[in-house]
């Protein structure tokens, strides 16, 4: 009898359980309750917007991405996350375009998964903000029946949209332009105007907690963001009580969604653990600066995108100290 054929592979010959595919699809799974909450607050419109953005992202990945790259789940994450940070009344073609732009120009143009500098979902949103500034800041009020549309979701591309939906300023807009505060309890539960998925802070925290326990996201980044935002806004509020307080800052706008789901995108955040602290602190500081002194009511998107650009420098500055060497790479005495 001849010997069996043996494989010749390099060590190690064992493999840990987690795969990139599993990590990505777990993130998608953890978004499901948030999507459900969006549907609860903003009705069928929320689902339409999320679906349109996801189809845009996934279709672009399918057409222009490398073969089989849909299976890694990253395009689906981009689409759903983009949908979650758009207003419910947005025309679907815009959301679709945002998803396509995010994947096409935010990811594939750099070489696909793992190569991009900026978070694709946020880049898609930045594109929409530049292209359709009115549509992306028209916030439908919470409430109403499930089937009632919150805007002209079915508007034809490039046509003027007609809608008589009830709109409302977001808590951050109220704060910025009318100096009115919203109860933190409403913010926590998501019972306020805003993007479809950013309002339910509680569910976002739960999803993030699940991912952190599974080590699918680096908990240091959201923690650094929360600590910095709390600290800075606390100091400002102490100096001048007319500034919004830390709790309001934490639970309003896209901070929760951004800190837990966007800033923690492993591709566009630092690879070192010390870098994660720096990255998170930078985002937190920029959020407070933009919200308090900037021209926009909300600053999470630009804060994360700006810090995305800093990641190579942060990585370089926070390289680990090698065992048996001092910090500067010299052999320890």
């Amino acid at each position: 009898m001849s010997d069996p054929h043996f494989e010749l592979t390099a060590s190690p010959h064992l493999k840990g359980g987690d795969t990139t595919r599993r990590i990505m699809w777990s993130v998608v799974g953890s978004l499901v309750p948030i999507v459900a909450a969006a549907a609860y607050f903003f009705g069928v419109s929320a689902l339409l917007v999320i679906a349109a953005a996801t189809v845009g992202a996934v279709l672009t990945e399918r057409v222009f991405g490398s073969a089989g790259s849909l299976g890694d789940g990253s395009a689906a994450i981009t689409g759903v996350l983009l949908g979650l940070c758009l207003p419910a009344g947005m025309p679907m073609w815009m959301a679709f375009l945002g998803g396509a732009f995010g994947i096409g120009f935010g990811k594939l143009i750099f070489g696909g998964l793992g190569q991009n500098v900026f978070n694709p979902a946020l880049l898609g949103r930045a594109f929409l903000q530049a292209a359709f500034p009115t549509a992306i800041t028209t916030w439908p009020a919470v409430g109403g029946s499930f089937t009632e549309l919150r805007g002209d979701n079915f508007a034809l591309p490039l046509m003027r949209s007609a809608s008589d939906a009830v709109t409302e300023a977001t808590p951050l807009g109220l704060m910025k332009f009318e100096a009115t505060s919203t109860p933190v309890g409403d913010l926590f539960m998501g019972n306020t105007a805003g993007s479809v998925g950013e309002t339910a802070a509680l569910l976002i925290l739960l999803g993030g907690g699940y991912l952190a326990i599974k080590q699918y996201l680096d908990w240091r980044i959201p923690v650094a963001i929360f600590v910095t935002v709390t600290g800075l806004s606390g100091i400002l509020a102490a100096i001048d009580p007319s500034y919004p307080g830390p709790l309001f800052m934490l639970f309003s706008g896209g901070l929760m969604l951004g800190a837990i789901y966007m800033a923690t995108d492993p591709v566009t955040s630092p690879v070192t653990r010390r870098g994660a602290w720096v990255f998170g602190a930078g985002i937190g500081a920029l959020v407070v600066v933009i919200r308090v002194w900037g021209g926009l009511p909300e600053g999470v998107m630009y804060a994360i995108l700006l810090m995305n650009a800093m990641v190579p420098f942060i990585n370089q500055a926070t390289q680990p100290r090698v065992f048996g060497k001092s910090g500067d790479g010299m052999v320890a005495a």
């Binding site: 060590s11 493999k15 840990g16 795969t19 990139t20 990590i23 690879v271 680990p320 790479g329």
Partner: protein, 442 residues
Amino acid sequence: MILRSGFRHGVHPADSKHLTEHVPIRRMGFPAEVVLPLRQHAGKPARLLVARGDKVERGDKIAAADGFVSAPVHASATGTVAGVELWPHPDGSMAEVVRITVERYSPQIPRPRLVPRWEGLSPQQVVGAVQDAGVVGLGGAAFPTHVKLSPPPEADVELLIVNGAECEPYLTTDHRTMTEYPERVHFGTRIMMQCLGVDRAVIGVEKNKPDAIDALTETIPDDLDVTVLPLTVKYPQGAEKMLIKAITGREVPSGKLPMHVGVIVQNAGSVATIAEVFETGLPLVERIVTVTGPGVKRPSNLIVPVGSKLRDVLDFCGGLAEDVTEVLFGGPMMGAPQTDLEVPIIKGTTGVVVLTRAETERHPTYPCIHCGRCLDACPVFLNPQLLGSLAQVGRYEEMEATHLADCMLCGACSYVCPSNIPLSQMFALGKAALRKIATQAA
């Protein structure tokens, strides 16, 4: 001195030791032929002493140490030298071997020899006896033991660490040795301590071997300052520098030897072998090998004559299962795959692990997503993510500047990588490329 500070990072693969951890050590019969490579240790290969047709007895020296960092090779069975030729070596190359046809009806009792009484011996004489017996480290690297026993006079060695971590999954060689022959481990420790002039020894054993810890603790001689230290289970605890860090809290400087921080580390199986040399006078002609894995019909811990062919060892354990894909020398994390069942078991072969389709099935490779798990796994705090991206584009000089030399190829980064990127393989290639560049420059 800190005891048990642990070491940072590392990984937790399933230890899979249940297959053999309670299987007592058995002796394998003598095969029809043994094949003894002249290169079975780190350092210079041994110098041939026999020729075709020579009759040799078990324990006879067939090749002598060539210089100080070298070890002799002894006949592991009585028989006739059938040839000196090139033969498949476990490292994948063809190497010079002495092939001995084993005499069929020989009792295999070594001729009476003088058992050295170690008590009166000077350190130099102990070192000589150990070298003469061909003892090398049995933990895998096969570094000649007598070299470790003779540190330079300027080294201030104050602690002996006996390495019983055995952190590689599946392997139970040291585990069974420590459980069944604890006195032998202590005797070897005593000889080493005397020879090195140290007052204190620590035997570090991972907590997944409670019977070994108990056996060693119960048999500590009254007059010996030996501590048996249970260690948290973590790979690669058995790596010298990790073990020193875990037990003493000291970090061996990059590129330096353990004696730089006053420590000598010796693998538990090797310590027991030193004791055997002074108990029986027999040189290193056999070793304990764990033959295990889902692909082996009867997983066992065996005393095997050095030079036994892999085929004979596997046959003795009932043969291979149906869907075997890989046969490894050593554990699954750092072991070397074998493709030829004719390769001999050599002094540094800690075990034979046979894996099947279920263990070796691989997911597809994805692009790196910068998750940083490899940085969290690396026990020497490298940045495998950066090294990997440099390796991918062949920037070897930059890999050197990114501390590639500190990588010990433990495989922890590859193990955790969710994108299934073969990081440690890329680092091995990078090291080879740098060696080539260095030779070309010279």
